[in-house]
Symmetry: D2
Subunit: 156 residues, 4 copies
């Protein structure tokens, strides 16, 4: 992944999911499917911060075309979890979002719990067809920059 040219903490999207007891499965950890629910919330927050004015999500929204995730460390119920989300690629009709999930680990810094990536396709729900990524998104996405930002947990 390309590095963000001028990383600024302001451009960093941090989302702290409120873990639920029901997210935990019989193994005592956050179930693998629940990570995608966290990512969904994280994306909702990301886009509502990106596009502050009211947006008619029916005229153009996104559909998920692809996900990939690598699980690095299990998450227990009372963990403090942070999800960092950024746009990693911007195409004509689609964009890629990437995520890192970190667990605060008292006294030992933070642990990477998962890395993931989604391809979203711009979609007009009224016409039922994919469409160009709206210009109203392109500009703020370019303003904050594509690619992995510098994260608080990065060394040095």
């Amino acid at each position: 992944m390309t590095q963000h040219p001028s990383p600024e903490l302001e451009s960093l999207h941090r989302y702290r999911p409120a873990l639920r007891f029901s997210d935990i499965d019989a193994m005592g950890i956050v179930n693998n499917a629940v990570f995608f629910t966290y990512f969904e919330e994280s994306r909702v927050h990301f886009f509502s911060e990106l596009i502050r004015n009211q947006w008619d999500w029916n005229s153009a929204g996104v559909v998920v075309a692809r996900h990939e995730i690598s699980y690095r460390h299990p998450i227990k119920y009372h963990s403090q979890v942070e999800i960092f989300t950024w746009a990693d690629r911007l195409g004509g009709k689609s964009l890629d979002m990437a995520y890192e999930v970190w667990i605060a680990d008292e006294g030992r810094g933070a642990l990477l719990a998962a890395e993931a990536r989604s391809t979203l396709v711009a979609y007009n729900h009224l016409s039922g067809k994919s469409c160009a990524v709206p210009q109203e998104w392109v500009q703020p996405l370019q303003a904050i920059g594509l690619g992995r930002p510098r994260l608080p947990h990065d060394a040095g």
Copy 2:
């Protein structure tokens, strides 16, 4: 609860939920909230069997106004679960559904896992208002009879 006057096995609505690993919480049992998801499926099956012809659920559907449940026995993942559902009361704008959740217990008959009851209000989603219970539902409900039917697990 009144007894069904002429209990017939045909009038008995039996639904076997497919338990999911993710229904199980960290205590190793079906989470208490998940029972309501099972009841929802059971109601969907009940009404789709009751009203066999295509029904425009937008013109008149139901909303849940009330639930009550008593948990009698925890349910583990690989249990064979049966939910019996019946209409227990039929009013002008609402009806009550009742449920019993049973676990097959090999060699020892069956265990009652929960008893529950819901009040459903007939609702016109187009007008956004409650409405009379449609005649198309009243007739088949009266035909199968209100009240708890004789269940396979009833003694004698």
Copy 3:
């Protein structure tokens, strides 16, 4: 419900669930089963604030024996939701929790979305048996008082 004798805002337990897109069903509202997941989180917060020192939940915890809920108003995705939780009855081996779910309604005060009540039975997970409500819970419960506290949304 008996009124709390000397209502103090400090004794008020307020929990703001983070609604998830996946809590919303095809009707566009928080699914009826999800309320019980919110109550579960609310109870976890209630008890962890009540019993501040580390508690061995395996030696004595609670199991849900009963729920009842009346739905008053549907909840949409971007609603600001507050759940007020209190202990309404304290018995030898069980206690009742009660809840009110409120939606902030801009410019018009707040709307009651649901009222609910749960019976919890004290349970020793090591012995697999119900047990007396631990004294370590009884004292703080009596200190904050049983019964519905005065809520911010109560009139004058």
Copy 4:
């Protein structure tokens, strides 16, 4: 993906998830995260059929290390869904499962709804460490053969 050398219908693992109303999100389709819950059930069925004798899952089980999924077609509530699951790679300490999700489309054959793949790592829950894939799994996996089997929906 390599082709199964001698495809036999017997070796085909077909799982029909019971869709739930609560699987459907506000877009009216099965939420993207729910596919992973379906895959989890499908794996549980796959392995319980593969290893028919009682297996002590505590001594050796699996943890999910990776998922990837491509969504091809949305799934609506009353769809008839079939998930085909196979082992696609068998390593010393891990294996890859692959899935295809198909929707029966009346009068028009079947539609591919998603293709996915998971890496599972053999894990000893007692020791808390990854371990070799048990021989008791290797033999039946090799017997049914690795790689995509011939599916009913394949042309010709």
